[in-house]
Amino acid sequence: MSVPTRMPAPMPPLPPLPLPRSPGGRKGKSPKKKQVNESISTWRLTDRIGYVMMWAAGLMLCAIGIGILVYMAFKGVQYLRPSLIFSSPTAEIDQSKSGGFFDPLIGTVLITLIGIIIATPIAIFAATWIVEYGRPTWLARLIDSGIEIIAGTPDIVIALFGLVLFQQGIFGWMSFTATGGAVFGRSFLTAGAMMSLIALPMVFAATREGLQSIPAHVREASYALGKTKAATIRRVLLPSVKANISTGAALGMGRIAGDTAIIVVLLGASLTLDPEGDVPGLNLLKGTGGTLTSYVYNNSPAGEGNAPQKAYAAAFVLLLIVLALNFAVDRIARSGAKTGLETSRLGAR
């Protein structure tokens, strides 16, 4: 067997790259640390004004955020007592006798859980369908705009709509039904169902974004192994957007915990939990109650309770809950980075 004798000629070596020179000539630094440090004094005036305004905007937001936090912490720590958290509220004019906000705290936790438990699966299914199937296109677009409408609807409108909806006879099992057959329409179940609409767009958007950022070749790799589309979605795609889903869910929970309108209209915004019926557990869900938001509102100077100190304490606890959820969002995103699951790296290669 003959072997050709000539081989491709080797490439001539490239000339060395010129070393970058930093303007302003920072002397005495090792070349590694050299950086381009242009001075804004060389900028045009409009650019300089814009630059200062960007700084100012950022600083102002920082100041507002820290201001709220410090003020609430100051007031909260001042008035918050363990007894407030663990005792139920009572309707008393005298502040010293009106109890704590144990019931509203439970109410917040309960309504948040109900809302997110309803919202998450629906949002995941919808997002997965849109990204992975999305045919016919008009239906995908319709669903997309539907969710956009939900996201854009003010919560008070959602609440009113929910009230009308759940006062229909077929939803009688969800709330208190009077002897005449009139359906009350207000309960943890009905309020939670409407709250899920508050969280749904966030979980949906996060999931969709995550799925869209998974490059097509990951799906192809799975199909090429003889996997069905369903298996690919379940075993590859959804696991890799877990962090996105959790982030969306935590954000959605924050929104639910902070909502007031739906609580006032659909939960009754009562001081204590008022179970309905005698099936333990279900009676709580069918019953009405209040949350920290309605408690704060009631006890603020605007409400009837007028116990501003307790309002501050409850508001502080609410703030802590929402901050904890935001912190969780952060942690989830970062733990994704640790396992290499974060979607940004998916597209990196």
Binding site: M1, S2, V3, P4, R6, M7, P8, A9, P10, I214, P215, H217, V218, E220, A221, S222, Y223, A224, L225, G226, K227, T228, A230, A231, R235, V236, P239, S240, T339, G340, L341, T343, R345, L346, A348, R349
Partner: protein, 319 residues
């Protein structure tokens, strides 16, 4: 005649093995209890001469040509269109076990499209149409269930594309049958390790199989993808420029692996590197603008190309 895969182990006396030359019974599904059909690659690798540009050395290190085994796939008058774009034109090729078929040709000539058609991945592209006949072990591939077909004809892509999960799960995913009860991790472990060993990756990842696959180097990722493809015990392995993103050392490891694997698999490799085609290919097919211009034994095609186009293309690479 190469032994069909079922005879890799010496047949039991008096067994009714088919005579040489008959097609061995195809493997219809992943059988976890099957003996490995592929020997482990030799531990000592010839990395030293990996990056040689000396063709005589490269040729010298190439193991003896594989012996053509039974024909596993046959392409007959295949045409593929993307919309009105006729991308693969009337191509007919045999794909045999025991040898490596190297597909070469300039960029855009339809090599990837041809491979994807063999794996039925083109069916995922809505604009793609194909006609002509492709058979796998004598039966039309369209008559097979598509997922089963893709298990038997596995594909490794140009870009390493591990799943965003651990090294272990990447390989285990290929092993798990969908729908059926999912085997436990303990049960799968030996098969995962074996697949990683066959792909020559195990030594590098054995300390931590839970390492995220996306944190491996490009070469390791590609070998992981090969391990993943091998884990399902395919009969035909399609490789689309598997080394284009790799350094010479990883390329060498993968070339060794390909040569090792061809005993038990039919392998089709697309490559832009003619020396690689020369090193690993037993047969070479040269495509140009969708046409199959020339197909022949590697030596014959490289030393004495019949078509002028082939001569031009090869001449451009080998001087």
């Amino acid at each position: 005649m190469i032994e069909p895969r079922e005879q890799a182990a010496p047949p039991a006396p008096g067994s009714s093995e088919p005579a040489n030359g008959t097609v061995p019974p195809p493997i219809r599904r992943i059988a976890l209890d099957r003996q490995p059909t592929v020997a482990l690659p030799p531990s000592q690798d010839a990395v030293a001469i990996a990056n040689t540009s000396d063709r005589s050395l490269a040729a010298a290190r190439r193991p003896a040509r594989g012996v053509a085994g039974p024909e596993r796939m046959r392409i007959e008058g295949l045409n593929v269109y993307y919309g009105n774009n006729h991308v693969v034109k009337n191509v007919s090729l045999p794909i045999r076990q025991g040898e490596v078929l190297a597909l070469i040709g300039p960029s855009g000539c339809g090599k990837t499209t041809l491979l994807r058609t063999l794996n039925r991945l083109t069916e995922l592209t809505s604009s793609a149409r194909r006609d002509g006949m492709i058979t796998l072990d004598g039966s039309d591939i369209d008559s097979l269930e598509v997922t089963e077909h893709r298990r038997r004809v596995s594909m490794v892509f140009q870009q390493p594309n591990p799943f965003p999960m651990s090294v272990f799960d990447n390989v285990a995913y290929a092993l798990r049958e969908q729908g059926a009860k999912r085997p436990k991790k303990k049960v799968l472990e030996p098969y995962v390790i074996e697949a990683l060993q066959r792909a020559g990756l195990y030594d590098e990842v054995s300390s931590n199989l839970d390492h995220p696959a996306l944190r491996l180097s490009g070469g390791q990722q590609q070998r992981l993808c090969i391990a993943r493809a091998l884990a399902a015990r395919p009969e035909v392995l399609l490789m689309d420029e598997p080394c284009s993103a790799l350094d010479p050392k990883s390329t060498n490891v993968i070339e060794e692996l390909i040569v090792e694997l061809r005993k038990d698999l039919a392998i089709v490799i697309v490559t832009h590197n003619l020396q690689q085609a020369y090193r690993v290919g037993d047969h070479v097919a040269f495509m140009y603008l969708g046409d199959l211009v020339e197909y022949g034994q590697t030596d014959a095609l490289f030393d004495n190309p019949k078509a002028a186009r082939t001569r031009d293309y090869i001449g451009g690479a080998f001087g």
